[in-house]
């Protein structure tokens, strides 16, 4: 494999990882602050993508579509937090899993009822379409570079938010001692709604960004959701830094596994069989990675356990 191809694949892995981070950040934040395991996070990703596709179709503006995705996902997040999720904070994980599983059913079929059974159209804005040539002669799609940039910016903003702002201090306090910050006079339920809406907005943004290069359809959130869970478990649940490291690790493992494993097996197997075995193993690679991490460090890479 040439160096150029390898570098391009590393970029692909990085881009995939950054996208996973947008999903995982919200999940891990919500878990860290409220102790809630939210299976419906993938539905918020879908809401973001559908809102973006709908607004882009009506207005023709990608920027408006992105803002719509943030607003719609945040609103949907706040709505389910106020009606359902806040009753679940005091419950065990089992109830949370079941209730948010029920939310997935409602969101998916509700979206299908509202938008029909066929995928929607959302395109890359003309300004960002097509490839650019990077130093070293790599041709790489500009839009994917933009996703990497947006993702890293969001990551930096999140770190700044948590490290430097008043809300960040409350969030950190909420992670370590829930009773204490209530005693200090912080409006805890407003804080929770805010954190949940923030996580939802990040998922919605990811949905809109990815929707432009994938298919905007019902059920698009669940595969990403499972990957995002893998990410936060590898990184350590509750840790934003862990989510970033885990996301990039998973992105690289998945992308490179898909390329390298079939090539590896074709060294000593017939091409067809090598292809088949290699890609089977590649699809299992990140789960194997996760199992290994947990066996070695049961609390994840940056977890507290």
């Amino acid at each position: 494999m040439s160096l150029i191809l390898f570098t391009e694949q590393m970029l692909n892995g990085l881009q995939f990882g950054v996208m996973l981070f947008l999903m995982a950040a919200g999940l891990t934040l919500i878990f860290g602050v409220m102790g809630l395991i939210n299976l419906a996070h993938g539905s918020l990703y879908m809401v973001g993508a559908f809102a973006a596709a709908w607004v882009a179709g009506a207005s023709g503006s990608f920027l408006l579509a992105l803002m719509a995705s943030l607003a719609a996902a945040a609103a949907a997040g706040a709505l389910i937090e106020l009606t359902v999720i806040r009753r679940l904070y005091a419950r065990d994980h089992l109830d949370q899993v079941l209730a948010t599983f029920a939310l997935i059913l409602i969101f998916s079929e509700g979206t299908r009822w509202a938008f029909g059974s066929f995928p929607l159209f959302l395109d890359i804005p003309p300004l960002l379409s097509g490839p650019v040539t990077l130093p070293g002669g790599i041709e790489y799609p500009l839009y994917r570079l933009t996703i990497i940039l947006v993702g890293l910016t969001v990551a930096a903003a999140l770190f700044a938010l948590i490290a430097r702002t008043r809300i960040g201090i409350q969030i950190r306090a909420g992670e370590s001692d829930r009773e204490m910050i209530a005693a200090l006079g912080v409006n805890i339920s407003a804080l929770y709604t805010l954190v949940f809406a923030l996580g939802a907005a990040l998922a919605g943004l990811a949905g809109a960004l990815i929707g432009a290069i994938q298919s905007v359809q019902v059920g698009m959130g669940e595969p990403v959701l499972i990957l995002a869970f893998v990410v936060i478990v590898i990184g350590g649940i509750g840790s934003i830094k862990g989510a970033l490291v885990g996301a990039i690790l998973v992105g690289l493992t998945d992308t490179l596994g898909r390329i390298l494993l079939p090539a590896f097996f074709s060294q000593f197997m017939a091409p067809q069989a090598a292809n088949s075995v290699g890609s089977s193993l590649a699809s299992m690679a990140i789960y194997i990675l996760m199992a290994v991490v947990l066996v070695v460090r049961p609390g994840g890479l940056f977890g507290k356990a």
């Binding site: 079929e109 059974s117 290069i213």
Partner: protein, 377 residues
């Protein structure tokens, strides 16, 4: 259930109650969840043909399999055991067909497939009561291979998901492609990001790309491929360029070549009537799945006109004759009850604001399938 039966009876314009129907058709298809678009098209095409036939003695029992094999088997049991249907049809997916069809035909029911055509049911596992009105799964891929050879491509890069239909697709393409392969990749089923594969295509030195990625996978691949600037010509089967999903791919699909046994511009009166009446009734252009549902119903009606369904041998002979006006023009069954038909080459175009296909040539003429020889009925 009862509610639905009655509603269907209403659609058929029946004055009397459902119990008077002479012929019962059980349709198991996908009406909820991600793949519902295909099932809805098959159902709508089928019901349109029944309505146009004016026959009031056919009752259709429609159930949703949710694209789950175990639900499909359960529904088949119900239709055979309690509804006592005569004919079954409707299944979209090969894995669901493999779950239902062998059992249904073993119990003496007729099964008319409006979509799935797994190789196992065309070859060693063929059955005298199983008829496929759509295609054997390999057909459209074989057409793509033949087209790629005719177009003078020497070195193709081919990819498909890593599951049986994907493996069959690549095998089918290679069966008719005379050039070399620059690369062959199996992707993950349900994969949505193809950046790594597109990078490999760019580096492979291929002169063309063949892909089989049904549903959302194909939409994702085409959008990302168009944006990557690789720009090699792309060939694929009709499933990724169907009326239902073309609008979601948009400009990225324009000019792409795909193979199909049907298109809305096939020039015959049946097809013209079908396209006009389907568009008028459902307010959308028909898809290839709708045409298959329509043809399936017309085949059934043609056999009912000439034979009594209780005389299984006569009815089977009437089905074999395939004496109906197909939207595809010429249509006949091969020895394994799979179609012998033309596979056309289509190009994606834009008509006003709507993306659609037009036929630009014929890839394979009067084409059967590779498994017929293995079939012993």
């Amino acid at each position: 259930m009862k509610l639905k039966t009655l509603a269907m009876a209403g659609v058929l314009g029946m004055a009397a109650c459902a119990a008077q129907a002479d012929i019962k058709v059980g349709m198991i298809t996908t009406l909820s969840g991600g793949g519902a678009g295909l099932g809805i098209d098959v159902r709508d095409g089928f019901m349109l043909a029944l309505e146009q036939s004016g026959r009031s003695d056919i009752e259709v029992i429609i159930e949703d399999d949710q694209r789950k094999p175990d639900i499909a088997v359960q529904l088949a049991d119900k239709m055979i055991q309690s509804d006592k249907v005569d004919v079954m049809t409707g299944i979209i997916w090969s894995n669901l067909a493999m779950a239902v069809v062998p059992g249904a035909v073993a119990q003496g029911k007729f099964y008319l497939s409006p979509n799935a055509g797994p190789s196992a049911l065309a070859g060693k596992g063929c059955n005298k009561n199983y008829f496929n009105v759509a295609w054997q799964n390999d057909n459209l891929h074989e057409g793509a291979g033949a087209y790629a050879s005719d177009a003078g491509y020497k070195s193709a890069f081919i990819l498909a998901p890593n599951y049986p239909a994907g493996q069959d697709a690549l095998t089918g393409f290679k069966r008719f492609f005379k050039g070399d392969l620059a690369g062959e990749i199996y992707t993950q089923l349900g994969q949505t990001d193809y950046a790594a594969e597109i990078a490999q295509i760019r580096a492979s030195g291929a002169d063309s790309v063949f892909f089989f990625l049904p549903g959302g996978m194909g939409i994702s691949f085409l959008k990302q491929y168009a944006d990557s600037g690789v720009g090699l010509p792309v060939v694929g089967p009709a499933f990724s360029f169907d009326q239902g999903i073309l609008q979601a791919v948009g400009d990225a699909a324009l000019g792409v070549i795909n193979t199909s046994q049907w298109n809305k511009d096939i020039d015959n009166p049946t097809n013209a009537g079908f396209v006009a009446s389907f568009s008028a009734k459902y307010d959308r252009l028909p898809s290839l799945y709708a045409s298959q549902g329509f043809d399936t119903a017309n085949l059934l009606i043609s056999a009912l006109e000439s034979a009594d369904i209780n005389d299984q041998d006569a009815f089977r002979a009437a089905l074999e004759a395939a004496d109906f006006n197909s939207t595809r023009g010429e249509f006949a069954f091969g020895p394994n009850h799979h179609p012998i038909q033309n596979i056309y080459v289509r190009e994606v175009i834009k008509e006003g604001d709507i993306y659609t296909n037009k036929i630009i040539g014929t890839a394979l003429t009067q084409h059967g399938d590779a498994y017929a020889a293995e079939c012993k009925m």
